[in-house]
């Protein structure tokens, strides 16, 4: 079996003592920052990203990043359950019933359910990634420049569909992101572009600086808007282990959530959020006592948490096979890979099998670490929630400054972080979502390169995008997504969904 050969190569790579250590540190740090109120997984990963660049070996760095990723996700759920403050919309669903469970003194069971659900979902979806990624890379290898261009357009438009708030604003954020991504030097002619005449920006804006500014600094500023004390629902978490009744009730929702999440996660544009909502709706609809939902139903934690995690996992499929990020977190992963000198795409699986399968295996290892680490340490995380915010953010700022500088030893990157922190905060304040901007920023250079290459191949004929069948299909899908989000009835429904989320 080739699959098992591949997986064993992956586990052999990921489970060296050093890599296990990096994964462990990643999970620990990810949870540590992720558990802080008001800082979501994306901001957490953006802020911890520079640390991974200190590791020389790209495989180890990405394994650590995978650990950070799971830690951040779980940290977000912990905050959602204990203080009803979801860091990101995907854990907003968990907060609904999780917080109610915590208020009834069942915080331990809710946290354990979230961890168990995530673990089961993670195991199944890791296997799915291993199963589906190789055949998909086969398809991806047939992609030419025109197909890549169309695929990226589809990804960008889908990310708009899942952004909350105004669609026009989300589109504008994507375009602004694309333009910012072009700052630097034109690869074909060597002409410097949009760098304000500053030589230090001729390699482009630092991805980490933009990400930390737009997500990290902007989120800190938002948290400083009103500084009232947050109340922690529980001071002490007791009886972690779910009761026999809990086990019986969580089993089916976990299985359903895993499948809903795995299917939706592959979609470009942030399937994990959609997955959590879909799972919650399904559980509520088929439950024998739907009245319990919103008042602390364990199914309302088990289903969405599994769906969320499964979706997060399978969103690695488009990243690993096509090099296309499905959501802002994947955009961060792609940024990290590029900085490590790896061009994500179908060639990674064949050229660097140890890296490719190592990352897949480390997803599962990250999941195990999570359960092993977080359940015993939950008391520590609860303590951390009581540390006042004004003590935390100077620490975060200091780490970010050192981290960003250390990526390229370029002090101009520190000016970028201040600038993008400001711009990001103002735009968030004007109700624009930062996620599409980051996706655009990562895809900008790739989009331009593929557009130009496709046009050279077609000798300047724009019809190449619609005459090549795969490209045409992708563009039709793009048009369909755009039409659907602009339909008045869907628009209304969409607004309702996102209102519920806030």
């Amino acid at each position: 079996m080739e699959l098992f050969d591949n997986l064993s190569l992956g586990f052999a790579t990921a489970s060296t003592l050093a890599n296990l250590g990096f994964c462990f540190i990643g999970v620990l740090l990810g949870t540590l920052i992720g558990v802080l109120p008001g800082i979501g997984p994306t901001a957490t990963i953006a802020m911890l990203l520079p640390i991974t660049f200190q590791i020389g070996d790209p495989t180890s760095a990405l394994i650590m990043l995978a650990g950070i990723y799971y830690g951040a996700q779980y940290g977000g759920s912990t905050t959602a359950i204990l203080i009803n403050l979801p860091g990101e919309s995907s854990s907003a669903v968990t907060a609904i019933d999780g917080y109610q469970m915590a208020r009834k003194g069942r915080a331990g069971a809710a946290l354990a359910t979230a961890a168990i659900g995530s673990f089961v979902a993670g195991t199944v979806s890791t296997f799915l990634v291993a199963l589906l990624a190789p055949p998909l890379t086969g398809i991806a290898l047939q992609f030419g420049a025109a197909e890549y261009f169309s695929l990226m357009v589809l990804g960008l438009i889908s990310s708009i569909a899942l952004a909350s708030g105004s669609i026009v604003k989300a589109l504008a954020m994507v375009v602004l992101g694309l333009l910012l991504g072009l700052v630097g030097t034109d690869i074909y002619s060597g002409t410097p572009r949009f760098n304000l005449g500053i030589r230090e920006y001729s390699d482009g804006l630092n991805f980490v600086a933009v990400a930390v500014g737009v997500f990290g600094i902007a989120e800190i500023l938002r948290n400083l808007e009103d500084e009232h004390e947050r109340s922690v629902a529980v001071k002490k978490v007791s009886s972690l282990w779910p009761t026999r009744e809990d086990w019986r009730r969580m089993a089916a929702p976990i299985v359903r959530g895993t499948f809903i999440g795995s299917a939706l996660g592959v979609l470009p544009g942030g399937g994990a959020i959609l997955a959590a909502f879909a799972s919650y709706t399904v559980e509520k609809r088929i439950s024998r006592n739907p009245g319990e939902f919103g008042k602390g139903a364990i199914e309302g934690v088990a289903g969405p948490e599994s769906a969320n995690n499964a979706g997060a996992q399978t969103s690695f499929i488009p990243l690993l096979t096509l090099g296309i990020p499905a959501n802002p977190v994947m955009a961060l992963m792609i940024g990290a890979m590029i900085i490590q000198g790896i061009v994500p795409g179908p060639n990674v699986a064949t050229e660097q099998p140890a890296l490719f399968w190592g990352i897949i295996a480390s997803m599962w290892i990250g999941n195990v670490m999570l359960v092993v680490l977080n359940l015993p340490l939950v008391g520590l995380w609860v303590k951390l929630l009581t540390v006042p915010y004004y003590m935390l953010f100077p620490i975060i700022i200091a780490f970010c400054s050192i981290g960003i500088y250390s990526v390229n030893s370029n002090i101009f990157d520190l000016y970028s972080v201040a600038f993008f922190g400001f711009v990001g905060y103002v735009l968030v304040k004007l109700r624009c979502e930062p996620a599409p901007l980051l996706l655009g920023f990562v895809l900008g250079p790739l989009l331009e390169e593929n557009l130009r290459r496709a046009m050279i191949l077609s000798r300047g004929d724009f019809s190449t995008f619609v005459t090549r069948p795969i490209s045409a299909t992708l563009l039709v899908l793009t048009a369909a997504v755009l039409a659907v989000v602009l339909l008045p009835s869907v628009r209304k429904k969409r607004e309702e969904v996102f209102v519920e989320d806030e």
């Binding site: 572009r193 600094i217 400083l224 808007e225 100077p394 200091a398 400054s401 004007l430 557009l451 050279i456």
Partner: protein
């Protein structure tokens, strides 16, 4: 006249960015669709951005909008310059004083912070980051720089 300030401002920001990128692209070689120059794609994107900016700003005129809400001015004044201060002093003062000052500056973003607490926090952070980044990870920072008479 009533105006939805949030959307008007938002549209204006996008238009301003569009104008910056658009004007710069015009100064570069545009090329043909067959062989696109460095200005072609950015000019196209800038045009879209300006149109989207107008689509946000124009409907905002004569409509009552939700207020923008309060700005954490104090936070902005102390948080945003913190990385800049680090950048400006790192080469001259060296890592230790530079990170101390940057942390101290950021500390005052909250009204709840007291000066002694801030000093202790900055000192602890300096010790910790020096240990981790300079000694632990071996990043090539000078502990004290030439402004302090160190060579």
């Amino acid at each position: 006249m009533v105006i939805d300030r949030a959307n008007a401002l938002c549209g204006a920001i996008f238009i301003a960015f569009g104008a910056y990128f658009g004007l710069n692209s015009l100064g570069m070689e545009l090329g043909t669709p067959f062989r696109m120059g460095p200005g072609f794609f950015p000019l196209f994107l800038a045009a879209i951005l300006i149109v989207l900016g107008l689509a946000i700003a124009i409907p905002a005129i004569r409509v009552e909008g939700e207020p923008i809400g309060s700005l954490p001015l104090r936070g902005m004044v102390f948080i945003l310059p913190s990385p800049v201060l680090f950048a400006l002093t790192l080469k001259g003062l060296g890592f230790v004083p530079s990170i101390f000052l940057a942390t101290l500056l950021a500390s005052f973003a909250s009204t709840k912070m007291r000066i002694p607490t801030a000093l202790i926090l900055a000192a602890l952070m300096t010790a910790f980051t020096t240990a981790v980044f300079v000694y632990g990870l071996g990043l090539p920072f000078r502990l004290f720089g030439p402004w302090l008479g160190q060579r």
